[in-house]
Structures are given as C-alpha cells and as structure tokens.
C-alpha cells in the first residue's frame, strides 16, 4: 500500500470543496484521506518508510523479516520432529539422559517458532509500514442534551404505560411473587450445606469409631505401636487404629507421639494443665499434629529445645508446657491426646481429645 502512495508530507490539505468520491479519477489515497476526514481523523504526519521502492536498505529489512519467518518455520518443523522422535518417556538419570531434555527442547523450539513470527511481524510493522501520526476526535462525555431529553422522556413514558406507579397493588403483588421465586432459585445451592454436627469435635480416636472401645495407636502402614518402639528424643506420627484411620477420612487424627527425655517428661508432667493431667504415659506424650492456627501439620520437632514448629506460618509450641504457643500466629495450645498402654503392650488413647483439634471456629467452646 505504502508504495502506491505519493510521497509527501501528510499535512492535511485544506480542501475547499468536498471530494467527489465517485469521480473515477480520484486516487485511492485521496479516497482514504476523505474516509479519514469523514471519520473525524486528521493526518498529522504520514510518510512511507521507503519513498523510493527497492533501495538497498529496504531489501535489507525485507531480508531480516524473511529470516525471522523462515527461522520460525524451521523451529516449528524442529518442534514437530522433536515431539515425535525425541525420546520422551520418563527414566531415571542425570543430565546425560536424553529424555530429560524433551521438555526443554520442545520449549526452546516452540519459543523460537513463536518468537520468530512475533519478531518478524513487529519488525515488519516497525520498519515497513508507513510512519503515521493521526489525530482523532474523542467525542466522549455525555450525550447531546436533546438526545438525553428525548430518551429520558421515552423511558418515563414507558414506565407510565406499564402503570406500575398508578397500580400499587400490582407492584406489591409482583414483589411478593418475585422475591420468593428468587429465593427459590437459590435453594439448590442449599444442597451444599451440611450440618457440621459434632464432626469438628471428634477425631478418629473417639471410641465411637471402635465400637465404644478405646482406640489404639498405629503407624501409617497400619502396624500397632509399643512404647519401646519410639526412640528417646524421637517422634513418630500415629493414627487411630481403626479402618481408614490413616486415610483422609480421618484427616483430623494424625498425632505426634514424642518420647521425651526423663527430665523433660518430668517438666511436662509438672506443667500439665488440669485437663492434661495423667495424659502422658511415662515419658511418652502425644499432641495433635494439626496446628491450631489454620491446620497445617505442625511437625518440626526440635528435640533439644523441645519446640514444635509449624512450617506453614511459623507458630512455635512448647512441648514440655502443654504445647502452648510461644511464637507466631497460633493462639491455642495443641490438644493433648491421653494415652496409655493396654495389657497386650500396645499404646492406645484412653479417650478422644478433650478439646476440638485444629483451627478455631466460632462455636468451638460450645461443646
């Protein structure tokens, strides 16, 4: 297009008389200018990038753009080839494993293919399209006052025609009809609503999940636990030994069982809240693993300092003092699970947690 246009400063000529658009002798550029004029666009500056076609410079630009398009095509072909023939199936290995480079190779080739097209088009736009600066009127703001008045009157008239204002009974009846209908439309969402009941107050250690009998502790693989199987200064994650006790069905139940050293256990016993008295079994102490802040597993047990850190929001709990929070955003101590050892020598929970585990909620003290 640009080459057809006679070169020249695009300063809009003041046209004395409107252009005769249908005159066959009018040039195309004159038509374009006329179109712009009619659309409220004024040309401030317009010049073809290469007024003389076929210069060395222009050929150079054309070659550059072509290069990027061709590069893009080659990379896209490479992408197809790599997609089909590059070994892709996962295998263990170091950086010399071919399949590890499948994704990087695809990404690089796709990136080059897309980028090549992009750079090509942009170079075309920047280097070959005419330099232009145009000015268009905005016509923003309110509509014409006459229009506004006419439309306003029409609207009010339509309102009058319905007669809602004159017939208050209809208005009320419609309101009565529509409001319940709107509510009725919301009802299906009610299918999502479930009564929490006491679910938040019980865990898998509640005897109700074990036919009323106390629940034993188990590992994630289902094996029961004897007290001597936990190292001094060690910790283990335990679950209620009920069907599905270690699954997400009982996501509120994971418990951290810690074997304290003698002096620490003594300290913990002395510090125990009234509620937690007798919950320890010898030097073993069990706390809910679900953080009382927002429920992450608080499981970073520091066996020398006896702190328990939650990795999500850095709440820190003091294990030998009822797991009270000593730092961070958590406000409440981790609930302690009362444990003992049965006649067969396995650890079990003498009762469920005595307070709701996990994050706080409005009615958590109303149990």
């Amino acid at each position: 297009m640009s080459t057809e246009v006679p070169a020249g400063e695009g300063k809009k000529d003041e046209q004395a008389e409107p252009l005769d658009v249908l005159d066959p002798n009018v040039t195309r550029f004159e038509l374009v200018k006329e179109a712009l004029r009619r659309d409220g666009v004024e040309i401030l500056h317009y010049e073809p990038r290469f007024p003389v076609p076929g210069t060395k410079e222009e050929k150079r630009v054309v070659r550059t753009i072509s290069f990027f398009f061709v590069l893009s095509g080659l990379a896209a072909l490479g992408f197809i080839v790599a997609y089909i023939w590059w070994p892709w199936e996962y295998e263990f290995g170091g950086a010399d494993t071919w399949s590890k480079w499948y994704t990087p190779v695809l990404g690089a080739l796709l990136g080059i293919a897309l980028g090549g097209i992009g750079i090509g088009i942009l170079t075309w736009s920047k280097k070959l399209l005419p330099v232009e600066e145009l000015m268009q009127e905005r016509h923003d703001g309110a509509s014409d006052p006459v229009e506004r008045r006419l439309t306003g009157a029409t609207l009010v008239h339509i309102g009058d025609e319905t007669g809602v204002a004159r017939r208050p009974m209809l208005k009320r009846a419609l309101l009565f009809g529509a409001a319940p209908l709107g509510l009725a439309a919301l009802m299906p969402i009610g299918g999502l609503i479930k009564d929490p009941g006491d679910a938040l107050f019980t865990t898998g250690f509640n005897p109700k999940f074990n036919g009323g009998n106390p629940v034993r502790l188990m590992r994630e693989d289902g094996t029961l636990i004897r007290p001597e199987e936990i190292s001094v200064g060690g910790q283990i994650t335990v679950f209620p030994a009920i069907p599905g006790g270690a699954t997400l069905k009982h996501a509120d139940s994971p418990t951290l069982l810690i074997h304290l050293r003698e002096p620490d256990a003594e300290e913990a016993r002395n510090n125990a809240y009234e509620m937690n008295k007798g919950s320890q079994w010898e030097n073993l102490i069990a706390y809910s693993k679900i953080c009382t802040h927002v429920g992450c597993p608080a499981s970073l047990y520091e066996q020398q300092t006896n702190r328990l850190l939650c990795p999500c929001h850095q709440s820190q709990f003091h294990i030998t003092n009822n797991a009270t929070p000593i730092f961070g955003p958590a406000t409440r101590a981790l609930p302690q699970l009362p444990i003992s050892v049965d006649e067969e020598g396995y650890l079990y929970a003498t009762s469920d947690y005595k307070v709701a585990i996990g994050p706080a909620f409005w009615e958590r003290e109303r149990k």
Binding site: P104, E220, I236, L300, P311
Partner: protein, 250 residues
Amino acid sequence: MARFIAALAFVGATYTAFSPGIYADEPTDSALTLDEQRGKEIFDQSCISCHGPDAQGVEDRGPSLIGVGSAAVEFQVNTGRMPMARQEAQALRKPPMFTPEQAAFLGAYIQAIGGGPEVPEDVDLDNLEGADVANGGTLFRVNCSSCHAFSTGGGALSSGKFAPDLHPASAVEIYQAMLSGPQNMPVFADNQLTPDQKRDLIAYIKYIQDDQAQGGWDLGAFGPSTEGLAIFLVGIVALALATLWIAGKS
C-alpha cells in the same frame, strides 16, 4: 591451637549437642583394643577439653558422650561438625578435621567406653539397588520433609536454627544422623525405623537427588517462591523490554 581450644571452651559453654545418656550402658572395664586405644589418644588430645576425661562431659562446656555410640561420633566428626569452630545457633557442616579412619578410631573408643547405637554391619549402604524407593518416599514425607523440605534442600527451624541440606550427606551419614539425632533432629533409632526402612529412605533421598530435574531447571527447588521471582525477573522483564522495543520510535 590455643585459640582453637579457647574457642572450643567458649562454645562448649552453651552447646549441648548430643542426647546424653540415652543408651547408657555400664562402662566396659575390659582393656581397649588397638583401634580403641588410638581413638583414646585422639580424644585425649582434641576432645577432652570439652567432653572431659573418659568422655564424662564437662559442665557448661560439652556433654557426656557415654552412650552416644559410634554412629553419633562418626557423623559429627566426618561431617566436620565436631570439633566446633565457634559459637553458632548450631554446628555447621565443614571440612572434617580428622580422616575417616581417625573418626572410626574415635567412634570405636566412645563405643567401647559407653556403648550406644552403631550402624549395623549387615546394612548395605554402598549399594542401594533393590531398596523400595516408593516406600522410602512415603517415609521421607512423613518423617523428614517437614524439616528438610520435599527437595531435601533443608529448611528453617525456630530462632536461627535450621535443618541442613541433605545433598552433601552420604548414605552412611544420613543413617548415622537418624540413629543419633544430632542437635535438634529427632532420633529415629533402629527400633523405630528398621534398618531396611532406613535403607529405603536413603535410597529415595539419593534417587531424587541424582535424578535430573524433569521439565527444565528446577530454580533451586524451593517451591513457588522462586517461581514467583522468575515470573517477574524473567517473564515480566523480558516482555517489558519487548514493549519498549515495540513502542519505540524507529
């Protein structure tokens, strides 16, 4: 050397690294073997200032080593954590002062006078073929990833302490660390995690460390934080430069 001893004394005052007396046995009276004798010589030269004669510990300096076992000694010495160089929130891994052989002598000596956990001889940690990597992964996620992170790259603990990166640790060192619970790490003795489970666990750690990241550079495997950094430093910066080029006058 004097400065070094002074530093040791200074450090020992606040440092309690070992779980004291967990595995305390009656000290053996039998005469030491040659290896144990060598260990004692090294001990009397380099460790005695903090850990005291016969490793009984020195109050406010260093804990008793009776009952810590050879696993703890070899772990601490071979990873360069012992002897400590200066006071820190926790002992750092550094080039070891002693050769593995010397560390073994030291371990043998401490084992001889106090007993304690040792790496069982029938566990093959040099060749992890045949270990159940998937089981190891499960154990890793339950027991280890909360501190050492999913990528084994380590993580922060309270008040400046941290769980170290596991990449430099050898299979035997990981085993010893689980046995002895160095510093704030909980103890995972062989009665809690069986030697086979430990081997699975180590095999998993080594697997994910030796497996080249799938799908490009892992950005340090820190999770979403470095990904967020990358989208601004790479994505937004590259495209902002592109906008400058696109809108620039030519």
